[in-house]
Every structure is written in C-alpha cells, then in structure tokens.
C-alpha cells in the first residue's frame, strides 16, 4: 500500500529538520489509521458480543473516533490519559496495545485486568493510562492528582487528559475536579464528547447552558470547541489545547460536538435518537468524512484505503484469535486478596474451607 500513498506521506523517507512536525497529510493519515483500527476493533468486539463470547455489556465508540484519535495523538509518552467508554481510538493512539482491549473484553487471565475487570474498564496506571471506574466524572480529579505529583517531583512538560461525555458534565465530580485543576493551575485537558445523548437522555434534559464550552470561563479554564465529525478540526483543536496546557496555560476544556452512532451499549437499539439529528451534519460518520477527504485530496487512493483496511483487519483478527485461545482466570488459583499489604489481610473464615464451588 505504501506505493499508493501520496509521496508526502512517506515522512520517514523524507527527513526534515528533527523538530518539525510531520506534514499535515501524514498526521491526518496516521490519525485515520487509528480511527479505522478502532472501528474495525469495535466491529469485531460487537460480533464477539453477538456470538455470546463477551460477558456483560458491550460498549462501542462508533462516531467518536476522530475526536478520540486526535486527543491520543496530541499526547506523548509520559503524559497521563484517562479515557472513557468511547475512546478506543485514543487509547490506541496513546499506545495501548490492541491486545489489551480484546483480552479485557474476553476476560482473558493474561490481559492487564486479569479477568477481574472488563470491557472498557482497563488501563496501565504505570504507563499513565488510568483505568476508568464506571462512576462518571470520577477520573478527572485522579488525573489532577497525577499532575500534582509530577509537579512535586519537578517533572515538567507533562499534560494530563481526561475524557467525559455530555452526561458526565452533570456530576459533582466534574465540577469539583475542573475547579480544582483551575485552582492548582494544572496542565489538564478535559475533553467533553457531546454526543447529544447520555444513554437515552438528550442534552436538553442534561444541561441548560447554550454551549458547554461556556462553562470554562466560570471555572477559570480555557474553552475550545471542535467539530467531532471532522478529523482536521479535531487534530487542530486538540493539538492546540494540549500545547497550551503543556506551555503552562492551565486547564483547557474542549467540547466536541458529534453524535453517538451506536446504542449506549450493544443491548440498546437507540430508537430514541432524533432522526433529524442523524441527518444533520452532526450525524456524519467521522470515519467516512475522513476517508472522503483522503481521496479528495489525493492523499490516498481507494486501493490504498482498501489495503489499509485489510491490514488493520488482519491485526484485529490476530489479536482476537490470540485472546480467544488464552485461559480464563482460574478461581482455584485466583489470589482472593484486595490488599497489597498482604500481611494485613484479614481472612473471613467461611464455615467451610474456601473451596470454589
């Protein structure tokens, strides 16, 4: 597929001055690849879900890949990232191995969560990738704390990003954390994916302000708005917001508008989504928009895109096949202890020796 790409895209073979950013089309194509990978991964996870191979809920990020990938790409190793349910693309761009996703969804004992937690509740705290808890808004202050620790330790130039949905902005946790970040002048980038719904609840039942980004002023954060359906806009806005935070500009609130192009989870047919919204510009599929742009600009031709899709599909299939062959956690070998201070562990004597049933 290399040959079919616009020559400008061979950035490695086109060395420029080391500090110069890669050319825009290369960024765009790189982001597109993360988006596509996330989409193909989501499709695979959905199909594993339909086949009954996934325990519990199946949650996808369809329609939010541009925003998420743009954020992941704006961050660098050493940064802190707390993604949420629909951030498959951002996770990949930040460097989360594809296998982490599949293993966690399938509950593999070899995954980062060892079958103890599932689906989108995964991460690698020591790599700056914070594992979300379900309680919305709860991750933002944790990012703040990680940033404060970096400051205590004189580590500079770090950015922390947290993602939240339109619904998550209604939590007390969101308010407390954004205020905290502003008071501490932390390099926090708080990204709100306003996908118009929180489960079935439309934004008009969630908040009454004209624009969520207006809230930034009240907290003392810098507002940014992005069109979440347009990769170029997302790349521009997210790189600006991250750069400003990195340069000492304090917390940045990015609000991106888009539409959730799937149910809340795969169990949900999303019949309540307004048909007018689906037909509006908000309802555009960011992946398709990006694809059309690539073709229109001549940054890739359709054969190249097809080849890319095949390549990405092979990667996803390989990861899924690997994870499916892996063992489930074994309750007999499971270490049933929630403390790291093992000597402080209490044993609650069961009336029978604790033999798993």
């Amino acid at each position: 597929m290399r040959d079919r790409l616009h020559p400008m895209l061979h950035s490695e073979e086109n060395p420029r001055t080391p500090e110069a950013p890669p050319p825009f089309p290369a960024q765009y194509l790189k982001a597109y690849r993360f988006m596509l990978l996330a989409r193909v991964l989501d499709d695979k996870i959905a199909s594993l879900g339909r086949a009954g191979k996934i325990h519990g809920g199946v949650f996808l990020g369809r329609g939010q890949e541009a925003l998420s990938a743009a954020l992941g790409m704006a961050l660098r190793p050493g940064d802190i990232f707390a993604p949420l349910i629909r951030d498959g693309a951002g996770r990949l761009a930040f460097g989360e191995p594809l296998l982490d996703a599949v293993r966690t969804c399938l509950g593999s004992a070899l995954g980062p969560m060892r079958g103890r937690d599932g689906n989108v509740h995964r991460g690698r705290p020591k790599k700056g990738l914070l594992p979300m808890i379900s309680h919305l808004g709860a991750m933002i202050s944790v990012v703040n704390g990680a940033l404060m620790a970096r400051r205590f330790n004189h580590v500079e130039g770090v950015v922390g990003a947290a993602c939240v949905g339109d619904g998550g902005t209604s939590t007390g946790a969101f308010h407390e954390a954004l205020n905290q970040a502003a008071v501490e002048h932390l390099p926090l980038v708080l990204v709100v994916a306003n996908n118009q719904y929180a489960y079935s609840t439309p934004t008009r039942r969630q908040f009454a302000c004209k624009d969520l980004s207006d809230r930034a002023i009240g907290y003392g954060a810098t507002p940014h708005k992005a069109d979440g359906t347009d990769l170029e806009d997302c790349l521009r806005v997210l790189s600006t917001a991250v750069a400003q935070a990195r340069a000492g500009g304090g917390p940045q609130l990015v609000v991106a508008s888009l539409l959730r192009l799937c149910g809340h989870g795969e169990h949900d047919d999303a019949h309540y989504v307004d048909a007018k919204l689906k037909e509006s510009a908000l309802g555009r599929d960011c992946l398709q928009v990006a694809e059309e742009r690539l073709l229109r600009e001549g940054w890739a031709d359709s054969e190249a895109l097809l080849a890319l899709r095949q390549e990405v599909t092979r990667e996803v299939e390989a990861a899924a096949a690997t994870a499916q062959r892996e063992p489930a956690p074994d309750p007999f070998k499971e270490d049933w202890c929630a403390l790291s201070s093992r000597h402080l562990r209490e044993i609650f004597e069961a009336p029978i020796p604790s033999i798993p049933a």
């Binding site: 325990h55 103890r116 937690d117 079935s200």
Partner: protein, 321 residues
C-alpha cells in the same frame, strides 16, 4: 398470566402514581425510555409530567427528593445501579436520614437501588449496599426476595414517612415470576419462614433466598430439613422470627451476597448470640461474598458470592458440628 419481579416493581410504581398525586419518579433515563432496566416502562406516558429524567447528578437527585419531601411530596428515586448511589451517599445518610430526628419533619422518600450481581457486571455494576445503608440511623432498608414482596413492599416504602432504601435484586428482575400480583401483604419488619425445617436455620434475604432454598431441597434428599428465614427487610430486622427459628433448630447459618466485613450476617449472629445463646447447639456460621471487589469474569464471579453449592456445603458442615 404471570408477572416478573421487575414487572411487579413497575406495577407498584404505577399504582403509587395513580393513587397518590404526591408521588413522582425521578432518575436517569426513567422517562420516555422507561429506565435502564425498564422498571418505569410507559409510566412517563401514562402519568405525564410525573416521571422525570434526571441529569447524571446523584447528589442533586437525592437532595431534590429531600426538598420535595419537605414540601409534602413522596418522591421515588431510581438509581441506575445501586453502585451509583455513592455520589448521592452524603445526601442520603446525612440529610435524609437525619431530617426527622433533627426537625420532626419527616422525609418520605423511596430510593430504588438495582442491586447485586449478574455475571459480567464487574466491580461497579454488582454491589449490594444494604448493609452500608442499614448502618445509618434514620433509614429503612428493604430487600425483597419475591415478586409479591417486591410489589407490596415498594408500595409500603412509598407510604412510609421515612426514607426507604429499596434494594431490588437485578438477578431476580427477569428470573423470578409469580402467577399474579398479591392482594394482601405481610407488614414490613416481619421476616417470613420461607421453608420449614427442624435441623438448621438459614437466615438470608434477596437473591440469596433462592440459592438457600435450592440448597435446602438438595439436603432434604439426604434426610435433613433446613428451615429458611427470609428477612424481607434488614432494617428493621425481625430478631424474634430468627430467634424462634433457632430455638427450633439449634443451628444458624447466615447468608448474604454483600462483602463479609460487618453487615447483615454479622448483625444477625450478634443478635442471636446475645438473645438466644443458649438455643445454639453449634457455633453460628455465616457465608458472604469474598473480601475483594466483585470480579468481572463469570468464573470468578460465581465463586466470589455464595451460591446453592457453597451454601449447601456450609450447611452440611454445620449439621456435622
């Protein structure tokens, strides 16, 4: 015709709305959508303006319910999952629970908490918080185990002048069916002997009742008869019925799905030890979930909480003591 535990909860709310204009329902996605579990299905359409979608603001949801209750309303709050009541914990335990005691103004709110485990729920969609709420003075905590109780106790929860934490079990939503809605009800605060026996008493509640009954049936084949007591509400806790049962059997096993430290099973044993020590022929025993967060993988989850097998093993062991 049959009715599920979930439908009974829906019907009780429909009746409460129809019978009492002071009742309204407030919670995330409870409106036109009918709730994450469909416990409020079509209620928004049938009772326009009285079934309101809430923002994702549990603290404010409970706080507003308390304010409305002060003004004479009788709100029913749906937490999307019991686990998500924790951002509203402060309002529940410090505001709702203390209001009457401080001011003599009652706080008649009902907070519905979809509780307990389903395979694949993981650490944040499976919790049983009844013991936590029961700890606080000023709250009533109901844990219905049957379709009939789900219906009649929810109606009673709405009628009661105090804040009620209504722990409805998600596993029972679809699994449990009854031929029809009940026409009469046991009073809240009374436990029920769900199965008579003479050799050992299992005290339990909510979904664990059905695991305990299954274990008792199996052990009956071995010639020993287990009495199973369903607490129905854990606060107030019907010590009399429990002690009377232990008086008949001499052996006590308490089973709960919540975490092992403290909680309902410890409370029951403490009461029996205090009030009926001489009735016991063997040390009272208890069986709870393990002392770790609730695991996601079904193979881990099914061992993390008690089930018919582990209850049966514990009962057999106690019978031999």
């Amino acid at each position: 015709m049959s009715i599920t535990y979930l439908e009974a909860i829906r019907e009780a709310q429909a009746k409460a709305l129809a019978d009492d204009p002071r009742v309204f329902i407030y919670g995330q996605d409870v409106g036109e959508f009918g709730g994450a579990f469909k416990a409020t299905k079509r209620l928004a359409q049938e009772f326009p303006g009285r079934v309101l979608d809430a923002p994702i603001s549990e603290d404010a949801i409970v706080g507003a319910a308390i304010g409305a209750a002060i003004e004479g309303m009788r709100p029913i709050i749906e937490m999307q999952y019991a686990d998500f009541s924790t951002p509203g914990f402060n309002q529940i335990i410090n505001q709702a629970a203390t209001l009457f005691w401080r001011t003599r103004v009652p706080c008649p709110i009902t907070i519905r908490m979809p509780s307990g485990g389903l395979a694949g729920g993981g650490p944040f969609h499976s919790q049983c918080l009844e013991g936590l709420y029961a700890h606080y003075p000023g709250l009533i905590v109901m844990t219905p185990a049957t379709v009939e109780d789900a219906y009649s106790m929810l109606l009673e929860a709405v009628a009661i002048d105090d804040p009620v934490i209504f722990c409805e079990h998600k596993h029972l939503y679809y699994h449990l069916k009854a031929p029809a809605l009940p026409t009469d009800a046991m009073p809240v605060g009374k436990a029920r002997v769900a199965r008579a026996g003479r050799d050992l008493t299992i005290v339990t509640y909510s979904a664990m009742l059905h695991e305990a009954l299954a274990a008792a049936e199996e052990i009956a084949l071995e010639g020993e008869e287990i009495e199973v007591v369903d607490l129905r509400s854990i606060k107030p806790l019907d010590t009399d019925t429990v002690v009377a049962s232990v008086a008949r059997t001499g052996r006590l096993l308490c089973v709960g799905e919540a975490f092992p430290w403290g909680g309902v099973t410890a409370e029951v044993i403490a009461r029996v030890a205090t009030e009926g020590f001489g009735l016991l022929d063997a040390p009272p025993q208890r069986l709870n979930a393990k002392d770790t967060p609730i695991p996601y993988h079904p193979d881990l989850w099914s061992v993390h909480r008690p089930n018919a097998n582990s209850i049966g093993a514990a009962a057999r062991n106690l019978l031999r003591m």
